[in-house]
């Protein structure tokens, strides 16, 4: 395996690509008793229409998430989640718009757990009965999401920003869309998207990398399958479809999300740089040490929960800024004014210098969390870059790039706001 060292951050990474196309990464952590492994496929809620072997297929909303629920069933009637838990591991899985990740954390029996992870994720087993049973469970989960203001406000925003891209739809689908899913849908999608060539295995811990490689070679299919190509539809325009939506729910105070979409860069180093630029620009524009934050916080317009991110998934890039506020529309007005000011006058050079230092410290802190390190390694690979390059690349980001990001992405007509207000009783 190839070893890359990242001395500036005190990390290293082993990498290999197996014959079957699986990309493997091992991050050694001497002295840690916890080990973490994630087995991920480049397949999420948004991958509904895709081409493989020259054939194009359309699938209902919610298949990736449904598959995630059903993958734990094994042909012998056992459940992988229970086997891993019984073995002292803490297993789980999640599906986002862009990826599905299966993972576990453990302090003992790592090799056995890793074998089980690779085994169950590559062993599809579905019957009409189990699919039907799961439809009930997932319908409950979808209903629970309906009560959740965080979920509602998020999808309200995405459907305002995006005209047709499938990230508009809930990852779990709807009660109606999941009713269309059959065992055949699941087998088809598993065959296409769970081919090792479409997957990454990333392990972090005090683990022998050669053993990980050997186990992956033993447990997984040997053949190299074609990599599917997702079709997210024609390119989205840059303006939101709709710029204002408000609804009532059982919440204590108004919640809001302000968003804007922008075009992600080409995959690879350029995309990583764009991520760093957007994150740093947002930190300076609305982060807790920005003049904007200080002003709005002291006016009582925003609170501790105010947060921001630049989210990159399934070929989309979205700025999301939000929290709780008594006057969400005033926050939007202030944001528009601040973005206009920065577009014209630029960021304060001192703020830029300090923010880069702060960003370095925050990224160092992020390295403590195995899950976040492994998941960002996986999403980095699916986007053609190495997540560990972030800190050295951050040093090269210029103030002008950050200003350009604000100028291009956060102009008035690009912004949309989604609001939830307390239900009047």
């Amino acid at each position: 395996m190839q070893l890359n060292k990242y001395d500036d951050i005190g990390e290293s990474m082993y990498s290999a690509t197996l014959q079957n196309g699986l990309r493997l990464r091992v991050i050694p952590k001497p002295g840690f008793s916890t080990a973490y492994a994630v087995f991920a496929t480049n397949y999420g809620g948004a991958h509904r229409r895709f081409t493989v072997d020259g054939q194009t297929l359309d699938t209902p909303a919610g298949v990736a998430h449904f598959l995630e629920h059903k993958m734990f069933d094994l042909p012998d009637g056992e459940n992988a989640l229970n086997i891993l838990s019984a073995n002292g591991a803490d297993p789980n899985a999640f599906t986002s718009s862009g990826v599905t990740c299966y993972y576990f954390e453990c302090t003992e029996g790592f090799e056995e757990n890793l074998r089980m992870l690779l085994h169950f994720v590559s062993t599809p087993y579905f019957t009409a009965d189990t699919v039907q049973k799961e439809q009930g469970i997932i319908a409950q989960e979808i209903r629970m999401g309906e009560d959740d203001p965080n979920v509602s406000i998020y999808y309200d925003l995405l459907t305002m920003l995006y005209d047709h891209h499938p990230i508009r739809d809930r990852v779990a689908g709807t009660v109606e869309s999941i009713a269309e899913i059959t065992d055949k849908t699941l087998y088809d999608c598993h065959r296409v998207f769970y081919a090792p060539s479409n997957m990454v295995l990333c392990v972090e811990g005090d683990i022998d990398p050669e053993r990980v490689l050997a186990i992956a070679e033993e447990e997984l299919p040997k053949t190299l399958s074609p990599v599917p190509r997702a079709d997210f539809g024609p390119e989205e325009g840059l303006l939101p479809v709709d710029s204002f939506r408000s609804r009532e729910m059982a919440v204590s105070a108004p919640q809001f999300l302000i968003g804007a979409k922008f075009r992600p860069s080409e995959e690879g180093q350029a995309l990583l740089r764009q991520r760093l630029v957007s994150q740093l620009a947002l930190r300076m524009l609305v982060g807790s040490s920005s003049p904007f934050y200080a002003r709005l916080y002291s006016q009582g317009l925003i609170s501790h929960d105010f947060d921001y991110e630049a989210d990159f998934t399934a070929g989309t890039a979205t700025v999301i800024i939000g929290g709780e506020s008594r006057e969400p529309e005033k926050v939007l007005d202030e944001l528009k004014a601040e973005a206009a000011r920065v577009s014209e006058k630029g960021f304060d050079p001192e703020l830029f210098r300090r923010s880069k230092r702060a960003s370095l410290g925050a990224r160092l802190r992020g390295l403590e969390d195995f899950e976040s390190v492994c998941v960002s390694t996986v999403t980095g690979l699916f986007s053609g870059y190495c997540a560990f390059d972030a800190i050295s690349l951050l040093g090269q980001v210029t103030k002008a790039e950050c200003e350009q990001f604000v100028r291009e992405t956060l102009s008035n007509e690009r912004l949309a706001i989604s609001i939830i207000t307390p239900k009047r009783t």
Partner: protein
């Protein structure tokens, strides 16, 4: 890793854990006091007000600029309730010099800022600034009111409130809306001064700096700490029995599409000599994870709910079962939860269930060693309880737990409260269901 706990100043204790494992050090400072309705909101508000401005850093923008300069050092207010002890203060995360340009060590300037926030707040005429107090008070009220947004945690909190209605434990870590509304800057200044004088202080550090360096830093920055008579008479009152002979039932209606059933138990006589290892294992067998009886039966086999799990408060001697159910499944879900507990009481525990629970609890404890946040919480709790073991020792005790131990805990439980949150029939889904 070696942990030491030393009194570095009167009533100020430092737990020091030296390790090279992490890239940031963690430092928390906690003022301890008895949780009570009268003072909980005020105490909770104090670190938030202090975080607004200090001598030399008069507003948040200046504090944030300083933190950015210190490579994104974070110093955040922290408010906890451990049993019936309220812990308020700051939690700092400080990047280690080994990974910073020029190996710059920012521990001392970070401690200096922490000390100023605690001891030298922005004041006028010796009083905390009214605009900071009022603004943070409004935000505190928002936090208290926002508990209703997350129905899962709201239903658990409501169950505790009803169950412990005559105990301090019913008071949330942020106190109540009524008490918070009555705070003003003069009252808060008085409470702040009294807290500084009388609270035992627990400091936790985990990182690369030596104890000597830490003690020297902390003694410098805390040199102006005004100490009076320290109130060591704080603790948690453990109630062994249910309040009434039969469990009380409380039903509440809100605009929700999914019901929440929460059942509260007293851990009972097993709390006389609290044995964390068997209690944790019991909890794991009952409802602690995906191999638990509640998960396997109530959720997976009978599909009575979307989630069903149990959690314990070892300090207060409580166990709570939380589940999300359809409204019409209330009786059947409740009875099934009782049935699963009865099964454990009667020893219906397979070797597989027991071993998987033991390895799950032990594994979680060993994993604490890799997380500063978990270590901080563990050792703070341990300091409050005066207990002598670390996570690794407790993990070993867990390995020795037997089926009889688990049965004994189950038989010691007393059900005290059944709380049910259901819909008020106002949502579209319910109308559909009624058609």
């Amino acid at each position: 890793m070696e942990i030491t706990r030393t009194e570095i100043m009167p009533g100020v204790w430092l737990s020091h854990l030296r390790t090279d494992k992490f890239k940031s050090a963690c430092l928390s400072l906690n003022l301890l006091s008895q949780l009570s309705r009268e003072t909980a909101s005020m105490n909770a508000l104090i670190p938030f007000v202090l975080r607004r401005g200090a001598t030399g850093y008069e507003d948040m923008e200046k504090i944030s600029a300083r933190l950015d300069e210190l490579y994104g050092t974070a110093i955040e207010p922290v408010v906890r309730r451990i049993g019936e002890i309220q812990c308020v203060g700051f939690f700092a995360s400080i990047p280690e010099g080994d990974f910073l340009p020029g190996k710059e060590n920012v521990l001392r300037p970070a401690c200096d800022l922490l000390g100023r926030l605690l001891l030298a707040p922005a004041t006028r005429g010796g009083l905390l600034l009214p605009q900071y107090v009022d603004s943070e008070k409004e935000k505190l009220l928002d936090i208290i009111r926002s508990r209703i947004n997350d129905k899962r945690s709201y239903s658990v909190t409501r169950c505790i409130e009803e169950m412990c209605c005559y105990e301090d434990f019913a008071v949330g870590r942020f106190g109540s809306e009524t008490e918070a509304e009555n705070i003003n800057y003069k009252k808060l200044t008085r409470q702040y001064r009294s807290l500084l004088q009388s609270s035992p202080i627990e400091i936790f550090y985990c990182g690369r700096s030596s104890k000597k360096e830490l003690v020297s830093c902390l003694r410098d920055v805390l040199s102006t700490l005004p100490r009076g008579e320290i109130d060591y008479d704080i603790g948690t009152d453990v109630r062994m029995n249910a309040l009434e002979e039969k469990p009380r039932t409380v039903t509440e209606e809100l605009d929700v599409t999914q019901g929440k059933l929460v059942i509260g138990y007293r851990l009972g006589e097993c709390m006389e000599e609290a044995e964390p290892a068997p209690i944790f294992v019991f909890n794991c067998v009952f409802g602690g994870g995906t191999t638990s009886k509640l998960f396997m039966n109530v959720r997976e086999r009978l599909q009575l709910c979307y989630y069903a799990s149990s959690m314990v408060s070892l300090q207060k001697g409580l166990l709570l079962v939380a589940s999300g159910i359809e409204f019409d499944k209330f009786e059947v879900a409740r009875d099934e939860i009782f049935r699963q507990l009865d099964a454990i009481k009667q020893g219906d525990i397979s070797d597989e269930e027991l071993n998987s629970a033991k390895s799950c609890v032990a594994s979680d404890l060993r994993a604490y060693m890799d997380s500063q946040g978990e270590l901080e919480g563990f050792y703070l709790t341990r300091a409050l309880e005066g207990l002598e073991y670390g996570p690794m020792e407790l993990a070993e005790l867990v390995e020795d737990v037997t089926k009889e131990d688990v049965m004994r805990i189950a038989n010691s439980l007393a059900c005290d409260m059944i709380y049910f949150l259901k819909g008020n029939g106002q949502t579209e889904e319910d109308e559909d269901a009624a058609e």
